[in-house]
Subunit: 507 residues, 2 copies
């Protein structure tokens, strides 16, 4: 696999927050089929490309921010999905499905600012619909619509955001989310701890590299803001500045808060004293004894729960990857308690640092008010969940070309081959026997395929066995079974071929 | 499970072809969770329902023609999908993915009349997009965009049609399609035969009841029309009348052709002589010798290929379920050769008749021109494929309540339970050991759950084993392992618990 990075000047910038320069990626990935080039397109074609494009070529363009996945890419993705799903199932999760679009009102009421980024459908029949923006709001809607009080579910599905496209960071406008949520009234922090355990298990199993789970609590953060004298109206804008801490220095963050967002420098300094702290149980002890913060009831509730959570995380044996980080804010409005996100680390000298090229690879938190807000008359359904950023993980793992070279895109176990012309009928009869016995088998769709091409296909595709038919074999009532890796050939009586193949396949 | 059918008068009928009465289904399916009612909604609320609805209730409504799937329904669906996918994989198929929306121009150019039924997106950034209407046109676009000349792929994904909603027939506006296609230049009818073999294998494996695969060829049909003197401009409209044959009598079909569509009665009679024929190899012989039809080159090519196809279907051992049916037309424009669809049969007296309540449950055919039409300068990529009507199959299978009662919605193998209060930490430590060993395990999210409730949960959910922790067990360094079905209990030393559980689970 090779990567060609093309930079195009962005001549017209329809949306304000798009950068002047946008990195576009043209990839030629997976080429086991002749001339197969996948994902070969740019977000904004250069003037030259536009001039050269044929009218019929325009139809073949993909919508902005979307992509096709080739069989090889799908094999990598299915590896990732199956690792994630098997973890969700290991924890006893059920699954549900909801429509890809919802009433626009549901989304705009619950995604706040971000609902600007939804894809709206044309009003074709009096219904205003939008493509879902995440799986959390539809999940809450599912609970409220169907009056479900308790559910531990996972859902893997596509979501849609007309957001800035950065293909190198795995940021597209159509992308998968893998969500796991626990809805229901339970004792404090037990479901929260299991969510973090699941996140830890998945990121470990994916072998994506060293990671850290940063954790905070909305109540602690709100307590800090109140204690430091930040007006409530400024909380959101300060959160978005704080989110940059780690990527830029505190000095720069403070500068943005004071000069761009009009925060009083003393308030910013006071906030800075807290949000630069991170650690574990010791930090919590320190905060509980903090003369100012200890006066704030909300923060103390958050800290008490955090202490309990760390106890559980210790019992679950994952506390080494968890860091209480008071700068973690997370954008979404609906979080009410603990919040967390996982970042990749990369080694810098003798210590690990957050790897900035893909951003967070998983996130989540507690949202106790969302279901009630959708159906206030009904009842409380507190929820906590995680979302695995599978596209970013895919982007990181896809770069590891070496590990995927031998990854198969099919599961074919046997190729039924002809040693000489005029054996199509015999091949069809034999392959029918194999299929009916549940053996995964292919044959060439040619009347008289060449032996060498058939063998070459097996090597290319990693098919382990070839069942060869020819005149000599016919005369002797046998099939020649060839092991592709060793090139060893054995004649097997026709009536024993299924048994022999199953034996070779270790069944 | 019980079904409540509600009939609402259709007061306003926005789209002409909607019936005055529309059957709506309110289902209370799967209630293993307290108060869980899924899919409880109607397409068009009655005036009473509308008056009673709260403003916040409106947000909870689902878009018309869509539905939620509960965990139980998902378990049934996953059973269906896994049967289908395992068959596709048995035949060596790869998989790809394409975006849920495409450029509107691509769809309107290729779905003809039906493109009226697409969901269009609002023009939010200068791109005119529509949700995909099927998986065939996006597949052809994938081949043309990525310049792929050969591909045997399956794709399981949602498609969207603003069509008439008939929930009892499994007709929704958002629904899954399961497609398998073979693209590439090969010897005649070999890939076509494998497509039919796959259709046969899947429908047999799903145990959905007796079925018949009706088969025809566009070239034979066109030959018949030409021979009978039908003007080319009338072909499409006659096809749509012919599609009703079987549901209504030939007399009624003829009546429609003559009186509504202005076909000359003699032409209709001549067409009638052909399209009422169905059978196998004998029918083909008869047609080849037909003095008029044998003059038509196109029809003779179609018949020669059909003869070859039947030879291959005999070798594949599925010819008993295949019937050449000259009335089969299939609506889509892009078919160029063989076409087929599967229908369910039901026993009537001592013979089987087409079951009309769900319509066809699978279909497909050859479309050799579609890829070329998208990219004329590039090259020919002949294709043939099948599409499994999974929603209709789901509707039929879901009715079989009996067979699903014991179907589990989770795969949990062990519940880690407490025999008395204050054993949360011990449960957490034990369940961590189980998870880390790959055992699927759950525990209650309560500090002090009641023993009876924990056991009851296992019975309800079909969890086979309970690992019980209590003071006595702690003192003796053991875990009490209980088999839920037999209620047998054994004390197992803590260090041997994983081994013992794996033994019980047959690993």
């Amino acid at each position: 696999m090779h990567w060609i990075k093309l930079m195009f000047p962005k001549t017209s910038c329809r949306r304000q927050h798009l950068p002047i320069w946008q990195v576009c990626t043209q990839r030629a990935f997976s080429s086991h089929l002749p001339n197969q080039v996948t994902d070969g397109r740019v977000d904004q074609p250069s003037p030259q490309a536009e001039a050269a494009a044929e009218p019929e070529g325009l139809i073949l363009r993909l919508p902005k921010g979307t992509r096709d996945f080739s069989p090889k890419q799908m094999a990598i993705r299915e590896n990732i999905f199956s690792t994630i799903v098997s973890c969700f199932k290991r924890h006893g999760a059920e699954t549900i499905d909801t429509p890809v679009f919802e009433l626009k009102a549901l989304l705009s009421d619950n995604w706040g600012e971000d609902s600007k980024l939804t894809y709206d459908l044309k009003d074709q029949e009096g219904e205003l619909l939008s493509l879902r923006y995440d799986l959390t709001v539809p999940f809450a809607r599912y609970l409220a619509t169907n009056k479900v009080l308790k559910l531990k579910r996972y859902q893997i599905a596509k979501v849609y955001r007309r957001d800035q496209i950065i293909t190198t960071k795995g940021r597209y406008r159509e992308f998968y989310q893998c969500d796991f949520d626990i809805a229901g009234k339970y004792d404090p922090m037990i479901p929260d701890a299991e969510c973090l355990k699941i996140m830890h298990e998945i990121l470990s199993a994916l072998k994506i590299g060293d990671f850290l789970i940063r954790i905070n609590d909305r109540r602690i953060l709100d307590g800090i803001f109140t204690t430091c004298g930040l007006p409530e109206t400024k909380i959101k804008t300060v959160c978005s500045s704080l989110d940059k801490l780690g990527k830029i220095t505190w000095k720069e963050v403070k500068n943005e808060m004071v000069n761009e967002k009009g925060i009083c420098p003393e308030v910013a300094d006071r906030i800075g004293e807290y949000v630069q702290l991170h650690g574990g149980v010791c930090l919590m002890e320190k905060l509980v004894q903090d003369p100012k913060l200890s006066q704030n009831k909300q923060a103390m509730e958050g800290l008490a729960d955090m202490k309990l959570l760390f106890e559980y995380l210790t019992l679950f044996d994952i506390v080494d990857k968890i860091s209480l980080d008071l700068s973690l804010a997370r954008g979404l409005d609906y979080y009410t308690g603990v919040i967390y996100e996982a970042v990749l680390l990369h080694q810098q000298g003798d210590h690990f640092k957050e790897s900035l090229d893909v951003g967070s690879i998983a996130g989540g938190g507690r949202y106790d008010g969302l279901v009630t807000s959708l159906n206030p008359k009904w009842g409380e359904v507190p929820c906590v969940g995680i979302s695995i950023g599978v596209e970013r993980i895919f982007t990181v793992l896809e770069r590891n070309t070496g590990s995927w070279e031998t990854l198969r895109t099919t599961e074919t176990q046997v190729l039924v081959a002809a040693a000489q012309p005029n054996f199509l009928a015999e091949r069809m009869k034999l392959i029918t026997k194999l299929w009916d016995a549940g053996i995964k088998a292919e044959m060439f769709y040619k009347k008289n395929p060449k032996m060498l091409k058939q063998l070459h296909y097996c090597e290319e595709r990693g098919i382990p066995l070839v069942a060869i038919l020819g005149q000599e074999e016919m005369n002797n009532g046998v099939v020649k079974l060839r092991e592709v890796s060793s090139r060893e050939e054995t004649c097997v009586p026709k009536e024993k071929i299924i048994e022999e193949i199953n034996k070779r396949l270790g069944k």
